[in-house]
Amino acid sequence: MDKDQEKTFIKDPNKTYGLMEMVDGTSPMVEKTPEDTVETFPHYFILLTICTLAVTLCLFMISLFFDAPLEDLANPLVTPNPGKAPWYFTGIQELIHYTDKPVIPGIIIPLCIIIWLFLIPYIDREPRTQAGSFLNRVFIGGEKRKVLLVLFTVFILGALVLIVIGELFRGENWNFILPWK
């Protein structure tokens, strides 16, 4: 029996037998605690079907009314002003604009964020060593993970704000513009 089940079927140390439980159900559940499960078919398939149809329909509607951009033929001699990366990288471009050392926002910061993302599950766990508990306190902030919550939220909101500014609010020579003007 695993831990979960031991919690449900509490063992009496004075007895060699334990009281199990009778469970209402439609399938045999032997040596298992009652769990709150339902049949995949149909319960999950209803959700799957609705979700699939809704997403496909939305995508078709969007594709019917909005055309993918196709500008002039590529020309190495005509530099557009401003030259923009795809939208998910304009945040980085926006950061580069603030510094004259592009290596920091262009390479070092993204690399650090990726490494940090990889490490999150290995720091946010029950600390077993002293170093582990130190790292946990500094980067996670204990059981409530207050530090991590703040860091992650800042990361998401920061990325969002920078992307929106870089994509919509930057015009010629990366000057600030209002997109509706």
Binding site: T26, S27, E35, D36, T37, V38, E39, T40, F41, P42, H43, Y44, L47, C51, T52, V55, T56, L59, F60, I62, S63, L64, F66, D67, A68, P69, L70, E71, D72, L73, A74, N75, P76, T79, P80, G83, K84, A85, P86, W87, Y88, F89, I92, Q93, I96, P102, V103, G106, I107, I114, L117, F118, I120, P121, Y122, D124, R125, R145, F152, I156
Partner: protein, 239 residues
């Protein structure tokens, strides 16, 4: 009337040779339906009620997967119509825009690609806030981050293929940023572009990466990702 007809069909030997399970009217048959079907057997026969709640997963992982499937189908269709050469690529795209279904095909592929970047990112955000990366799911989070990187790489390599101004300068700006890497930056850029400038070599490289290398890697990691979701005990419980 309709019911008996359905039963006649689902009891016939031809039907039974394809689908072993008859009408799934008992829990046992409902489970067998999933066990016995190649496409469904990645799903468990039973699921935790909690894991089915829309407000827990928002179906974001599933939607990412659906978009990937749509992208694969529309992408293969586009491959029939596209030539990866700087003389032809742009004009193939232009020709595509002249017919309605060609236009819609390209639109579907483009918007699904943007959508997938968004849903994969939001899926990561969901997994973070539900703290679903905790043991035993640590490694599935790592696979997830790799999938996020691959998704961005797929989108980025596809961006060059129409060979218009947007594509050309988008990739020029991006690879210039890469070249800022200390010591090896110029080499990385050269390795990626196959030349000092974005040109024919870069288009061919991005094409092969976009249509073969990256989709296969993504599909492989997605398979491992789904397998791990099940091996780690299904969708994580509430906080």
């Amino acid at each position: 009337m309709i019911k008996s007809l359905l039963r006649r069909v689902s009891d016939s030997s031809v039907w039974r040779s394809i689908f072993r399970t008859g009408i799934p009217d008992t829990d046992l048959k409902r489970s067998m339906l999933i066990f016995n079907n190649f496409f469904l057997h990645i799903f468990p026969a039973k699921m935790k009620r909690h894991g089915l709640r829309f407000s827990y997963t928002f179906c974001l992982g599933g939607i990412s997967c659906l978009l990937f499937i749509i992208l694969t189908v529309t992408g293969i269709l586009l491959m029939f119509l596209y030539t990866p050469s700087i003389e032809r690529a742009y004009f193939d795209m232009q020709a595509l825009a002249l017919v309605l279904n060609g236009k819609i095909l390209r639109n579907l592929h483009r918007w699904a690609a943007h959508g997938m970047v968004i849903t994969v990112f939001l899926h990561m955000v969901r997994v973070f806030y539900t703290r679903s990366y905790r043991p035993p799911r640590e490694f599935n989070w790592v696979i997830g981050i790799l999938l996020l990187i691959l998704t961005l790489a797929l989108s980025y390599t596809g961006y060059l293929l129409p060979w218009d101004q947007l594509a050309y300068w988008g990739i020029t700006v991006g690879t210039t940023i890469m070249a800022y890497t200390p010591f090896i930056g110029k080499h990385i850029r050269y390795f990626l572009l196959g030349a000092d400038e974005v040109g024919h070599e870069a288009l061919l490289r991005f094409y092969v990466l976009h249509c073969v290398v990256l989709p296969f890697s993504t599909a492989l990691l997605m398979a491992i990702h789904f397998w791990r979701v099940r091996k780690d005990g299904g969708i994580s419980g509430p906080l």
